[in-house]
C-alpha cells in the first residue's frame, strides 16, 4: 500500500547549501522524501547528514536554497514550527530531561490538561499508550528518566516523538544504543508506520540496518548528495565506495598469533555489585584485547565502572600484576601503580569538557606529570598536545578551539588522546565507536591493535558484534551480570556471540527475562 510515486514528495530540498563561516556543511543539495517510505540516509560523519536533518527539523536555517513541504515553500524558524508542520525528529543526542518522569517527558510539549492544569492521570495514560505502541509496556511512566538505562531512554525518546503525531519522522542514529530486542521492536514499528503513510528518514552508520529496513537510500559525502536509489539496487561494495570515495580493503588489522598465554595483568575474582554484577572473574593478559559482549545492559558498563573505581560497595577482589589492589576512585585508578584508563561511553558528559579547548581536554588526565614546581609547564603541555593531535590525526584548526566545535569522530579521538597521554597499561573502553564514522572507526581499530602490540592490556565493550569479532583475542559474553561464555580464536563468530548473548545453549531457546 505504498503511495504512488507521482504524488508530490512530503519534503523536497532544492539547491540547499549551508555553511558555517568558511566550512561548507551542505552544498547545492537536491533531496526529496516521500510519504509511505522509509528513506535511509547514509554518510560518514561530516558528510552533511546531521545538517540536512537539522534544516528539515528547523534547528538551523539553510544559507541558500529552498525547502518545500507538500510542494509549498516552507521555512521553519524553530523545531516547534517544524513540529507544527508534522516534522518530528529523534535526535542522536537524547533530548530527555533526566529528572522528570517518563510520562512528563513524553508529554512535555503538549501535556493533557484539565481545568488549565496538567492532568497527571491523563498524561500517564497517554504515556502508557505510546509506550505500548512501541512495544515497551514494561517501562513504568512514573520513573524518572535518569533511572533508565540508555537503551530504554532511547525508546522513551521514540515514544515522545510519536506523541507529536508526525507526518515525517526523522530518526538520527536512533538505534545506536538499543538492545537487539528493542531494535526488532523499532523495525516492526517503522514498518507499521510506513503502512500508515508516514514518511520516515532513517540516518544510520550501520549498513545492514539500512538494508534490512529502508526502501530508498541516499548517500551523502562531503556535504554533497551523491545518489539516491531503491534499496538493494546497489551492491555493498558500490555503496561503500560512494560513502568514502575510496575502497576499504582490510577493515580490521590482523590479530597477533600467540604461542603461549600472555602474562596476566588485570585479574578479578568474584566481583559483585548490587543486582547488576554477580560473580565476575576474568583475566586480561599483557598485550591482550579482551572483548565484552552480550545483550546491552547485562552488566558490561557496570563492570568497567567497578574496575575504574566509580562504583561504591563492590565486593570481590581485583589484582594488578598479581598484587591485590583497591581502586576507590578514578584518580586512584590512573595512579602510578595501576595506570588504568577508561574511555567512557558518553563523551559529551563523561568524556570531555565541551567548553574547554582541545588542548586542555587532551592533557587533563596527564597534567600531574607535566608540572615544574607545581606549575604546569606550557612547553611540555603544548608538545604533548601536538604529539597526540598528530598521532591520532585529529582534525582541528587550532588546539585552542573549544572541543565542542569538533565533529563526533574527532571528539572521540580527543577523548582517547586524553587517556593515551597517561600511558596507561590497562585500557577499558566502553563502546568507543558508537555514532562515529567508518574512517575514524578504522583508525581506532588500528590504534587498539598498536596499543596491544606495545603491551597494553585492553578490555573492550562494544555493542557492535562485528567489532568484537574483528578486534578481540577473546570475547567474554555477559548475561545477567555474569560471564556465561568465553569465546576464543576461531570460535568468535557472529552466530556464537548472538547465541551466547541470548543464553541459547542452555535450554535451546531465549532464556527467561533478566532479573532487573
Amino acid at each position: 500500500m505504498t503511495v504512488a510515486a507521482d504524488t508530490p514528495p512530503l519534503v523536497r530540498l532544492t539547491g540547499v547549501s549551508k555553511h558555517y563561516g568558511g566550512v561548507h556543511a551542505l552544498r547545492e543539495v537536491e533531496f526529496a522524501a516521500r510519504a509511505g517510505s522509509i528513506h535511509g540516509v547514509l554518510g560518514e560523519n561530516g558528510a552533511g547528514k546531521s545538517t540536512l536533518i537539522k534544516i528539515i527539523a528547523g534547528v538551523v536555517q539553510p544559507s541558500a536554497g529552498e525547502m518545500l513541504i507538500d510542494d509549498r515553500p516552507a521555512s521553519f524558524a524553530s523545531p516547534q514550527a517544524a513540529n507544527a508542520a508534522g516534522v518530528v525528529c529523534v535526535f542522536q543526542e537524547l533530548s530527555l530531561l533526566p529528572d522528570l518522569s517518563v510520562a512528563d517527558n513524553i508529554c512535555i510539549t503538549r501535556p493533557p490538561r484539565r481545568y488549565g492544569l496538567i492532568d497527571r492521570q491523563g498524561q500517564r495514560r497517554r504515556a502508557e499508550e505510546l509506550l505500548a505502541r512501541i512495544g515497551c509496556s514494561d517501562i513504568d511512566p512514573r520513573l524518572p528518566v535518569k533511572a533508565l538505562p540508555l537503551s530504554r531512554r532511547q525508546m522513551v525518546e521514540i515514544a515522545k516523538a510519536l506523541g507529536r503525531n508526525p507526518r515525517l519522522l526523522i530518526l538520527d542514529e536512533a538505534t545506536s544504543a538499543l538492545t537487539a530486542a528493542d531494535v526488532e521492536k523499532v523495525y516492526a514499528l517503522l514498518h507499521r508506520l510506513r503502512r500508515e503513510g508516514l514518511g520516515i528518514l532513517y540516518i544510520s552508520h550501520r549498513m545492514p540496518e539500512i538494508k534490512a529496513l529502508c526502501d530508498t537510500c541516499s548517500v551523502f559525502r562531503n556535504g554533497r548528495h551523491i545518489d539516491t536509489f531503491p534499496s538493494g539496487a546497489r551492491s555493498d561494495d558500490e555503496v561503500v565506495r560512494m560513502l568514502i570515495g575510496r575502497e576499504i580493503h582490510n577493515v580490521y588489522p590482523p590479530k597477533p598469533v600467540r604461542t603461549e598465554p600472555p602474562k596476566p595483568v588485570l585479574e578479578t575474582r568474584g566481583l559483585r555489585w548490587g543486582q547488576r554484577l554477580a560473580d565476575i572473574s576474568l583475566t586480561v593478559g599483557r598485550g591482550e584485547i579482551v572483548g565484552l559482549g552480550g545483550l546491552d545492559g547485562q552488566g558490561q558498563r557496570e563492570l568497567l565502572l567497578a574496575l575504574f573505581g566509580v562504583l561504591r560497595g563492590v565486593e570481590g577482589s581485583v589484582a594488578v600484576d598479581g598484587r591485590p589492589v583497591r581502586i576507590g576512585s578514578p584518580s586512584k585508578a590512573k595512579s602510578a601503580g595501576i595506570r588504568m584508563a577508561l574511555i567512557p561511553e558518553d563523551r559529551k558528559t563523561e568524556g570531555l569538557l565541551l567548553p574547554m579547548t582541545v588542548g586542555e581536554n587532551i592533557t587533563l588526565a596527564a597534567l600531574g606529570g607535566m608540572t615544574r614546581g607545581g606549575v604546569i609547564d606550557r612547553k611540555r603541555e603544548s608538545d604533548s598536545i601536538a604529539r597526540m593531535v598528530e598521532a591520532l590525526r585529529i582534525k582541528i584548526g587550532s588546539a585552542d578551539a573549544a572541543v565542542g566545535t569538533l565533529s563526533g569522530g574527532n571528539q572521540q579521538k580527543v577523548a582517547i588522546a586524553k587517556w593515551l597521554l597517561t600511558e596507561a597499561r590497562i585500557v577499558l573502553l566502553n563502546d568507543p565507536t558508537r555514532g562515529i564514522d567508518v574512517g575514524t572507526k578504522q583508525e581506532i581499530y588500528q590504534l587498539l591493535h598498536d596499543l596491544a602490540a606495545a603491551g597494553t592490556s585492553i578490555l573492550f565493550y562494544s555493542t557492535d558484534y562485528d567489532e568484537l569479532i574483528g578486534c578481540c583475542d577473546r570475547v567474554l559474553i555477559l548475561y545477567g551480570g555474569r560471564v556465561i561464555r568465553t569465546l576464543e580464536g576461531e570460535a568468535i563468530t557472529e552466530t556464537n556471540i548472538v547465541a551466547s548473548a541470548l543464553n541459547l545453549e542452555t535450554n535451546g531457546q531465549a532464556a527467561e527475562a533478566v532479573p532487573a
Binding site: V310, P344, L353, E360, I376, D400, T422
Partner: protein
C-alpha cells in the same frame, strides 16, 4: 594568532575593558584634577578592596558555585586587623600573617563544608557568612581601632610615600626608583597578588582542575581529576583573597568596622564584577584578572556620578539618592551587552551548552 583566538573567546572581557576606558575617560575628562597622580591614587584605593573581594568570588564561581561569605570574611579580617596591625615592625608582620591565616582557615572551612558536608556552596557560605559577621561584631562591637599610621599611609599612597615614610636610601632616591615612584601602592600590590598567587594557581594542576569541574564535573571526575582537592583549594584561595581585602580596608580606614550592610554590599558587588568581567556563573570559563577589570568598570561608573555637572541636562543624576537606581540600570545594560553574543550564535543548541 593564538593570542587573538584566545582573546576572541573572551568577548566579555574585551567589552569590559572598553566600558572601563569609556567611563573612566569620561570621569577624568570632567574632573578638574582628571589624570593627576593624586586622583589616580585615590581611585586605586577605592578600587583595591572590592577588586580583591571580586577575585575571591571568582574562584568558587569558576567551580560553578557562589561564595556569599567573601564580604563577611573581609569584614571579619578587617576587625581582626584593627586589633593586630599595631606595634613594632615584627608585630605588624606577625599581625598580617595571622590575618592571612584567619582568611585561609575560614576559606578552608567553607571548602570542607562543600566537599565533605556535601552542602551547596551558596548555602554553606550563607551560613558561614553569618558566623563571620558574628565574630566580627565580637571583635569590634563598635567601629574603632588603632592601625599603625605609617603602614596605613604607605600602603595607600605612591611608592614615593613608602620610601619617604620609611626613609629608604636616607631620602636620596636612586634614579630607577624616581622613574617609578609615582605608581600607587595598591596597583603594585594587586599586580603582585596576581603574579604571585593567581597566575601560579591558574596554571597548577589544581587550578586547571577547578576549570574542569566548572566545565563538567562528571567528565572531570571520570578523568581522574582530584575533585575534592581542587574544591578545597578554590575556597581556601578565596579566603586568602578576602583576607587581603580585609587587611587593606583596615589600612585604608585606619580602623575596623563590623558593618553588616557593607559586607553584603561587597558580596553582591563582587558577583556583579565577576559577571561584568565575563566569567560564566555556570563555571569553567573566565578568571580573576577579568574580575578586576569588572571592578574597575563598576567603580568607574560610580565615579562618573560624582562629576555630573548639576546645571546640565543630566543634572538630576547628581542627586545621590538616585545613584543606586542609575548604577543598577547601567549594570543591567553592561551585563546585557555581554549577553549579546546570543545574537551571533547560529546553532541555538549551543546556547545551552
Amino acid at each position: 594568532m593564538t593570542t587573538l583566538l584566545r582573546m576572541s573567546r573572551q568577548g566579555g572581557l574585551l567589552l569590559a575593558i572598553a566600558l572601563f576606558v569609556l567611563f573612566y575617560g569620561l570621569y577624568s575628562y570632567q574632573h578638574p584634577r582628571g589624570g593627576s597622580a593624586d586622583l589616580i591614587v585615590q581611585n586605586a584605593n577605592e578600587t583595591f578592596t572590592l577588586a580583591l573581594v571580586a577575585m575571591a568570588q571568582t574562584v568558587p564561581v569558576l567551580l560553578g558555585g557562589l561564595d556569599l561569605s567573601v564580604g563577611p570574611l573581609m569584614t571579619m579580617v578587617n576587625c581582626l586587623a584593627s586589633h593586630l596591625l599595631t606595634g613594632s615592625g615584627w608585630d605588624l608582620a606577625f599581625g598580617i600573617v595571622l590575618c592571612l591565616c584567619a582568611g585561609l582557615l575560614a576559606g578552608f572551612i567553607n571548602g570542607a563544608l562543600v566537599v565533605y558536608g556535601r552542602i551547596q556552596p551558596i548555602i554553606a557560605t550563607l551560613a558561614t557568612g553569618a558566623v563571620l559577621i558574628g565574630i566580627a561584631l565580637f571583635l569590634r562591637p563598635t567601629p574603632g581601632g588603632a592601625v599603625d599610621s605609617d603602614l596605613s599611609w604607605a600602603a595607600t599612597n605612591t611608592l614615593f610615600d613608602v620610601a619617604d615614610t620609611y626613609g629608604w636610601w636616607g631620602g636620596d632616591l636612586p634614579g630607577w626608583f624616581q622613574a617609578i615612584q609615582a605608581i600607587p601602592v595598591p596597583i603594585i600590590l594587586i599586580v603582585l597578588v596576581v603574579l604571585l598567587v593567581w597566575v601560579p594557581f591558574k596554571n597548577s594542576v589544581t587550578g586547571r582542575g577547578c576549570y574542569a569541574i566548572g566545565s563538567s564535573e562528571q567528565a572531570a571526575f571520570m578523568s581522574g581529576v582530584a575533585i575534592d582537592r581542587s574544591k578545597l583549594a578554590a575556597f581556601t584561595l578565596a579566603g586568602l583573597f578576602a583576607a587581603i581585602a580585609g587587611i587593606y580596608l583596615a589600612l585604608q580606614t585606619g580602623s575596623g568596622n563590623a558593618d553588616m550592610p557593607m559586607a553584603g554590599g561587597y558580596t553582591l558587588n563582587s558577583i556583579a564584577a565577576v559577571v561584568i568581567g565575563g566569567t560564566s556563573l555556570f563555571g569553567g570559563s573566565g578568571g580573576a584578572v577579568a574580575s578586576i577589570i569588572g571592578v574597575m568598570v563598576l567603580r568607574a561608573i560610580s565615579f562618573c556620578f560624582r562629576v555630573v555637572p548639576e546645571d546640565s541636562i543630566v543634572g538630576f543624576l547628581a542627586n545621590p539618592l538616585l545613584q543606586p537606581l542609575f548604577e543598577g540600570i547601567i549594570l543591567l545594560a553592561a551585563v546585557s551587552l555581554g549577553a549579546a553574543r546570543v545574537f551571533t550564535v547560529k546553532n541555538r543548541l549551543q546556547l545551552f551548552g
